[in-house]
């Protein structure tokens, strides 16, 4: 005699991590005003120390971990004195774009298709790198989507980064790699270099690239200017520059602008970079800007056995997305 087989139907969670432990769904299901997350697990366009292809998974894990430690009820920010409640239905994780390791064209189009669909729908694409090249396909899709949603709209661009990424070509890696993403973005039809701003540039940069940016009206804030001017003033000047005549802002967050002493888990470390406190204050400042799209790049978990780089990067997302993920308590 065969024993009866019983099957339980417990309310199971979906395995794996989603950003901020949010729901997983397709790009077509994201509503206007929501954050639509797109993973870009590719470091095939990085020229030196790899590992950023594990970045999206690490960001999903770290934000979920931090989320679990935040109170589900009202919370209090001692810096601002504001009370907030967690927002609902503010984010959808759309999974990863299809990455084709040996075909940068296919990878580019796959990422762009997802961010374009989100932008057309009125959502805000948040792309998780990956090396910083992937910022270009993410912004490419946003640019295409914006052109469809609002044909005459223009966007300003701010890149927080230790490097300019404005080279036309880079040796063996040609024209599409992690040193050329800003240059490729500058060639998109609905952005102008005079509305492009770089913050946190450190060390030595290519003189030709810097001269070209400034000749075309771009603005570069070095890490030392962040130290000397202060983050509030840098945010004010950066937004004034980037948003002149523009409707929306695209923000590209390269974590490597932070000093390597704090943040070693990235491919191209810089020294005398900005501190975590300064980075967070910059993101606090940009959190109220009219964000149309954004990306965060260059988190390479294998390069930081301490895992603090993942936690710091997750906190960056908590900061920049604060007005989406929380609602203020009216007292």
């Amino acid at each position: 005699m065969t024993a009866a087989i019983t099957t339980s139907h417990l309310p199971l969670n979906q395995p794996g991590f989603r950003l901020f432990d949010g729901p997983a769904s397709d790009v077509t299901d994201v509503a206007p005003g929501q954050i639509g997350v797109v993973g870009m697990p590719s470091d095939w366009t990085h020229s030196s120390r790899l590992g950023a292809r594990f970045g999206p998974e690490a960001l999903r894990k770290a934000t979920t971990l931090l989320q679990s430690k935040r109170p589900q009820g009202g919370s209090f920010n001692p810096d601002t004195g504001h009370r907030t409640l967690p927002a609902k239905n503010w984010l959808v994780d759309c999974g990863d774009a299809e990455i084709t390791a040996d075909d940068v064209d296919a990878t580019t189009q796959a990422i762009a298709a997802m961010t374009e669909a989100l932008t057309v729908a009125g959502a805000i694409p948040l792309a998780l790198g990956g090396d910083h090249y992937n910022s270009f396909p993410a912004c490419l899709g946003y640019s295409r989507g914006l052109a469809k949603r609002a044909p005459n709209a223009r966007f300003g661009y701010i890149q927080i980064d230790g490097h300019l990424d404005f080279s036309d070509r880079l040796g063996a890696w040609g024209s599409h790699n992690h040193a050329t993403n800003a240059r490729r973005i500058s060639e998109l039809p609905n952005v102008d270099v005079s509305n492009m701003v770089w913050i946190g540039i450190a060390g030595w940069v290519d003189g030709g690239d810097l001269a070209l940016i400034e000749k075309q009206g771009g603005r570069v804030f070095s890490a030392s200017e962040v130290h000397s001017l202060g983050t509030v003033e840098v945010v004010r000047q950066a937004l004034a520059h980037a948003m002149q005549g523009c409707d929306e802002l695209y923000l590209s967050i390269d974590i490597d602008a932070m000093d390597a002493g704090y943040l070693p888990g990235t491919g191209s470390v810089v020294h005398s970079g900005i501190t975590p406190r300064q980075y967070y204050e910059l993101l606090d400042g940009f959190a109220e800007a009219p964000l149309g799209g954004l990306d965060i790049d260059e988190l390479s978990p294998p390069l930081d056995p301490s895992e603090r780089t993942e936690i710091i990067s997750a906190e960056m997302l908590f900061r920049i997305l604060q007005r989406f993920r929380t609602t203020p308590v009216t007292e």
Partner: protein
């Protein structure tokens, strides 16, 4: 149309410091900076791995080989907004390779001979260590030299010491660079050879965990860079890098230590080769 071009051998080929020209020691000439690797362990060090420092420093320096890299135009110091001329660097920076493995006696003898020969030619030796125990040999080779020590343990009161390790103490180091620079000028005797010991421990430990002897209260990068730029304007006979251990457990992949050292060292290289600076010393060695 494919977006990538064909591969270029940027990371391949002979590994020399900043992609400088390999040269035989007999061909070193006056005014040059001659790099020499010291890939040896200090058997009394708490961790093995210092012998890999010379290779790690060369690998990191390749990123700064602008003069030998056609894909860049020219470097600009973004903080100072100052163009950095690299013209002529390739003619004056050369890499002699490493001191060969051998017995202790043979290694010390080879290092002493090489240091003397480089200095007789009127050049400056840039020694990539490794263990700082070999610095005693360099001091002996540079007869009656004055020694400036960045970091490391203080062992000779005659040395000019910047941010020394507080042996067994947790006292935070107080650094007043402006005052120290004046004191250095008073201490310096330009009739004597000058030897610079640059130990990774000069940096605040939170900036790099790749040092065998971590310390609190060290210098930041700007301070070390300022010192090396100043020292580079003097006629230095030899500068020796020590204290880097690229294999410190779990941290070797991060490469923060060698990045810090090479970034600061660039200030010395450019100052020593006279790009936009003048020699303070008038002594001819």
């Amino acid at each position: 149309m494919p977006l990538r071009s064909g591969p270029l051998p940027r990371m391949a080929g002979h590994l020399s410091f900043m992609r400088s020209q390999p040269k035989a020691i007999g061909d070193v000439r006056s005014g040059q900076l001659a790099v020499l690797g010291l890939p040896f362990e200090d058997t009394s060090a708490p961790f093995a791995g210092q012998s890999l420092a010379a290779r790690a420093l060369r690998e990191t320096s390749v990123y700064f080989g602008w003069h030998a890299n056609p894909q860049f135009s020219h470097p600009v110091d973004i903080d100072a907004r100052q163009d950095i001329s690299t013209d002529g660097l390739h003619e004056r920076l050369c890499d002699l390779g490493d001191i060969a493995l051998g017995s202790d006696e043979a290694i010390h003898a080879a290092l002493m001979t090489a240091t003397r020969q480089i200095n007789r030619a009127g050049a400056c030796a840039l020694l990539l260590g490794g263990s700082d125990r070999l610095s005693v040999t360099v001091q002996k080779a540079l007869q009656d030299c004055q020694t400036v020590q960045l970091g490391g343990t203080s062992c000779d009161a005659r040395n000019f010491h910047i941010a020394p390790l507080e042996n067994g103490s947790d006292t935070t180091c107080k650094i007043d660079t402006a005052t120290d620079l004046v004191a250095f000028t008073q201490w310096r005797n330009s009739t004597k050879p000058l030897f610079v010991r640059f130990d990774l421990s000069v940096f605040e430990t939170s900036l790099s965990a790749l040092c065998d002897r971590p310390r609190l209260g060290g210098c930041d990068l700007d301070t070390v860079t300022q010192w090396l730029s100043t020292l580079g304007q003097h006629r230095v006979s030899a500068i020796m890098l020590t204290g880097l251990n690229p294999t410190r457990p779990g941290m070797g992949i991060v490469k923060v230590g060698q990045r810090l050292m090479v970034t600061a060292l660039l200030a010395f290289v450019y100052a020593r080769l006279g790009f936009g600076t003048t020699d303070f010393d008038t002594v001819s060695l």
